[in-house]
Symmetry: C2
Subunit: 94 residues, 2 copies
DNA sequence: GAGCTATTTAGAGTTTTTTCTAAATAGCCG
DNA sequence: CGGCTATTTAGAAAAAACTCTAAATAGCTC
């Protein structure tokens, strides 16, 4: 999905925490859920948003679904921020 | 304001475009508004969110209010993303 | 296949966000 | 001062996001 969806996905604290959890490796939906005081349905909702933003990808194994962090999209985000920060084109200095 | 507010502020496409506009230097609220098909009131609303997130700061001059990008907060955001991406602590590799 | 476990989907309720119009504030300039 | 310009604030309406409960799907394992 689009760049806008990536930012949107990152804007929720629960989703950011999920991403942080995944830093240390793949985790099943249930495992992720156990870190929050929310129903599995809500966690599933958040995972879906992260998945659509391509910030995570899933892999099915037995009857578990594992989620993995997709660092390449994080890098794209950083690139955008870097442009924002460093973008000193257009400056009218002499 | 908090870190969460910074992400929230970045999550709206209008606000991201405002930040991008400010890359090339300070701009008055009116000038910013002229780049969008929205009322001044709405632009003011967005500017206020950016200001609370410390992504921009204002300086008053005559009866204009100029807005400037605050790159240091952008850097903080990048730092967070960098931690997310690079955080390979906790890995159980052998 | 029956029952179990893991997870998602559907639908509804609540809260938050975005936008507008109208009115208020603030400072300039003649 | 009086009017003008620039911008914000207030309040309301509409849209989007988040969360829950209940039900559905899917793939084990016995």
């Amino acid at each position: 999905m689009s760049f806008a969806d990536t930012f949107k996905a990152m804007s929720d604290p629960v989703r950011r925490e999920i991403l942080m959890l995944l830093r240390s490796g793949r985790m099943s939906a249930g495992e992720i859920g156990s870190h929050f005081e929310m129903t599995g349905a809500t966690i599933s909702y958040h995972l879906n948003i992260l998945k659509k933003a391509e910030l995570v990808f899933e892999s099915r194994e037995k009857n578990f679904i594992y989620y993995d962090l997709n660092t390449s999209v994080v890098e794209e985000l950083m690139l955008w921020l870097s442009e924002l920060k460093g973008g000193n084109n257009h400056v009218e200095e002499v």
